[in-house]
Symmetry: C2
Subunit: 558 residues, 2 copies
């Protein structure tokens, strides 16, 4: 069979987060493969209580590991590189990234006790990495973290442009500006661009995106207008924003103090790799606490309301010797990601209770997005004139809107969500296969499958409460009197005021007393009967059907 | 001591939801009391998993029940009357409301098996209810449910206006328009208005609010532009919106089908009380399923993404014989309440997967708020010229902003959150006492206290998992070999691939084998030691510290 060019998202398509996109070229079923990005997404109490990180299921890629040539990381955001430390050892191929991003990749590996040597630092275009049938170049593109790159992936079937996350920013403050002339060249080289795999995040935003540089003046004016301590929070990785904030502090005679491990790490890597220059000198929290309040600006983590981050700690009172007071000012220079609203609002109210004046970016004055809006997406389609568009980095509705946008302009497109293998060889993308995909969870220190039932059990315990029943059966298959019931997460009193556990014990004793010997001898039957009675009694008495764990201990003859 | 006029919020101040405001007049500590509203708020998985409803703690009012004259319900929203069925029996006083609202109150009592007779239907101003030192009038005001009322509460110390929820809407489609002339009269009667207790919900919205009537044209145009089945969702109680949607259906030749119990109940009460007139005839789901798709509009519950409501059911496939298809259109004519974003987005994506075109109210074209925006709040301050302003119906940050707004205009104000007793007698509000308040939860069929630890245990089980350990001690205080461990919501394998439960059992066996007799005889010591070992082993092996329940069974000599 003829060689073909394929695209297979394993994460990031049909969701925003945990990006992992496979490209392949070769005979069907024997394509040589590369992986673009290997990110995480974050859980929530609703669907993944207790889970630390969520990653794409790599089973398909592990099974085809001998065909995998390497991993390319487009930029340093967690949803693009966060799973490296947990999953790259299973794939065991080199990881390619530019310097700043690659340094972050190495830290991710070291965090998990792995050698950073698998990370190969490569330069931007015109430097190229040839792996099997793929020639890959990192092309600077603007986003909300420095050194973001699109990839050109040249294959025997033609050129792919994989945008990564991007916006059209001619003045991004830190990092490479969007360069339309270079992109025009890329579109005109050879046979032009066959496939554009394109960021869909902001396809519903109708107005052209604004440059990072537009924030400098409003933020400076805001800082100048504040009379006491100033605190600003944003995404730790948004180094340009950190610089804009810090520059405003310097210009208004304030010293900058950075709080939060992630932020200090980002800035440190920014310095080390030469990405970040002319950043104001920073001071530690102890020194900040000693200065007059109108001479300090804290720049802190926790813009999404994370419970343990600096913003939340400050809102609860003292943090590292610093405390906020009546008349201080707190700026959220960030957008709240859907799902985090209540956490952010909780912090805003806690700050309000301290008398702190809270400012947010709702009206767009103090924050700009890192993603291309609808007109910008149209502009990149126009500029690159691809033969087809494959929308990525979006939930289903984003992918669908992006596909329609392309199709309305006469460009073939398709909705391909995680696990859908798309043949890109012809003149239009075509779904040719479905691959088993899913999610794996980092839970404490182990990886578990999303479908293992562990999280399902947690959710059930949280919603329904938990009852534990212990029953002892003696050597002669007689049930000892008094089943023991312990309740957790359940009302302990019935509507009538009785002790619920005792009430269940009473009903169980009655059942056990008259239980048939065949039931008593059979663990499964005993378990089922006890479970059923426990749930029935709880339902009658308090209107809940708890999860039930039954432990049957059978005494052995000595 | 001289008589005083007091205000005491028990719910709704420092939060949005579960409104319950007490006013009192008389000798300090002996004031006669009235309660305005008795609402609920809704829980979430983050903070209240498994909880059905959240209500204000009424302990203070129960203790002072002999001083309570009655309850006044301003309007029919759940956050103003939803707790009546659960709590009013404890207070045992008459409930006063206008006809439509009162009918909803009666249904709430009947839902809980209580007699509806405690509800007294009263007419709007000039009708007045005299209870002890209070003369209370219901004054029609516009909001997002018909028959919303502010209250004038005349006391020997002066007149209070309690706005309830309101907006300034001269054309509210259904129900009473805002009538500035009447309000001017109210402000000019007698000594004018001493206290304005005022809705703060939209104090951060900078533009004047828009009328419900402005939606008719855009919604009609939208419906006319759709080619297949049309579905619209909004709050069930927003009868004006239901009428606007249904009118648009009728004008475009579509039959209306209402889906969702809450919505059908609201419309039915609307008809019965004469509030709702000239509403298009509706059809049932069966008939709707039989009509051509371009002749139907479904108006459905579930605008907040509620899992069991009609919107969610439709997004998952079939519901009552109806199913959505490629090319159908779905309108969210509603605002997403913070915290519900992910649920709403989940439905939007599920609809996208069905090929349904989703439209939302993000840009304000298809939804208007029911609350007064900042300029409207300023307008009501201007119109009523109160001696002081007490902000209510808001989180701390809303109350604070509203207080500042009042103070900036020269009107004394105060932040009073739940449990803060405010003396209104003088020329400025003054916090004079703090009363124990809190929340109670409806959990299944029982009421539990927020601080009882039940919900805390659920959250811990959800985050950390649960281990159950059963140990048997014989008649001679010897521990039988083999502690039994059951895990729930925990990885069953260690990083090394061992069975975690067995591993814990092994460690426990080792401990029990060498345990001191004084420990074995002491339940508390055994419990503590077993718990500690279980948590340690789990932490080492999987990085989690589970909740542990230990059951020690002691065999008795026969």
């Amino acid at each position: 069979m003829a060689d073909r060019l394929i695209y297979l998202p394993l994460g990031g398509a049909g969701e925003i987060g945990m990006n992992a996109y496979v490209y392949g070229y070769g005979a069907p079923g024997k394509e040589r493969l590369i992986l673009v990005d290997l990110g995480v997404t974050f859980g929530d109490m609703d669907s993944t209580p207790g889970i630390d990180l969520i990653m794409p299921e790599m089973a398909w890629l592990e099974q085809n590991r001998d065909r995998l040539e390497g991993i390319f990381i487009t930029h340093g955001h967690e949803d693009h590189l966060g799973a490296l430390g947990h999953l790259s050892a299973r794939l065991d191929v080199p990881i390619y990234a530019r310097k700043f991003t690659g340094t972050l990749c190495r830290l991710k590996l070291e965090d998990q006790g792995l050698s950073p040597d698998m990370v190969r630092i490569v330069g931007p275009r015109p430097e190229a990495t040839q792996l099997g049938p793929f020639k890959v170049q990192f092309v600077p593109i603007s986003h909300s973290i420095p050194e973001s790159s699109a990839l050109t992936i040249d294959t025997p079937a033609g050129r792919i442009v994989h945008t990564g996350d991007f916006k059209l920013d001619g003045t991004p403050v830190v990092g490479d500006a969007f360069d339309p002339m270079m992109w025009r060249d890329i579109a005109q080289e050879g046979d032009g661009i066959k496939v554009l795999t394109c960021d869909s995040t902001n396809v519903f935003s109708p107005h052209p995106g604004r440059s990072e540089a537009t924030l400098a003046q409003p933020i400076l004016e805001w800082v100048m207008a504040q009379k006491n301590m100033v605190v600003a929070t944003t995404f730790a990785s948004n180094i340009a924003r950190l610089k804009t904030l810090a520059d405003a502090a310097r210009a208004s005679g304030r010293k900058v103090c950075l709080l939060g491990r992630a932020m200090r790490r980002m800035v440190s890597v920014g310095f080390d790799t030469g990405i970040l220059t002319d950043f104001p000198e920073t001071i530690g929290p102890e020194e900040a606490a000693g200065l007059p309040r109108d001479q300090v600006m804290l720049i802190v983590t926790g813009s999404q309301g994370e419970r343990r981050a600096a913003s939340a700690q400050l809102s609860r009172g003292r943090y590292l010797g610093l405390s906020l007071k009546e008349g201080d000012s707190f700026l959220f220079s960030s957008r709240t990601i859907p799902g985090n609203e209540r956490s952010v609002i909780r912090i805003m109210n806690a700050l309000s209770e301290l008398g702190v004046n809270v400012f947010d970016a709702d009206d767009g004055v103090f924050h700009v997005s890192g993603h291309a809006n609808r007109p910008d997406i149209e502009a990149i389609h126009d500029l690159l004139k691809p033969g087809m568009v494959v929308p990525m980095h979006g939930e289903h509705m984003h992918l669908r809107a992006h596909m329609k946008l392309a199709q309305d302009r006469g460009t073939p497109s398709v909705i391909a969500t995680d696990g859908m293998m798309v043949d890109l060889t012809g003149n239009a993308p075509k779904v040719v296969d479905h691959v088993e995909t899913g999610r794996i969870y980092l839970d404490g220190s182990v990886l578990i499958g999303a479908m293992d039932g562990i999280v399902r059990d947690r959710i059930r315990m949280a919603l329904n409460g938990q009852a534990m029943v212990s029953v002892i059966v003696d050597e002669d298959d007689n049930v000892l009197p008094d089943a023991w019931v312990e309740l957790s997460g359940l009302a302990d009193r019935t509507r009538g005021g009785d002790d619920l556990a005792q009430h269940i014990e009473g009903e169980l004793a009655e059942f056990l007393d008259g239980a048939d010997a065949r039931v008593v001898r059979d663990d499964a039957k005993m378990d089922e009967a006890i479970r059923k009675i426990t749930r029935q009694v709880a339902m009658e008495e308090i209107g809940k059907k708890p999860e039930v764990t039954v432990i049957i201990s059978r005494l052995m003859a000595d």
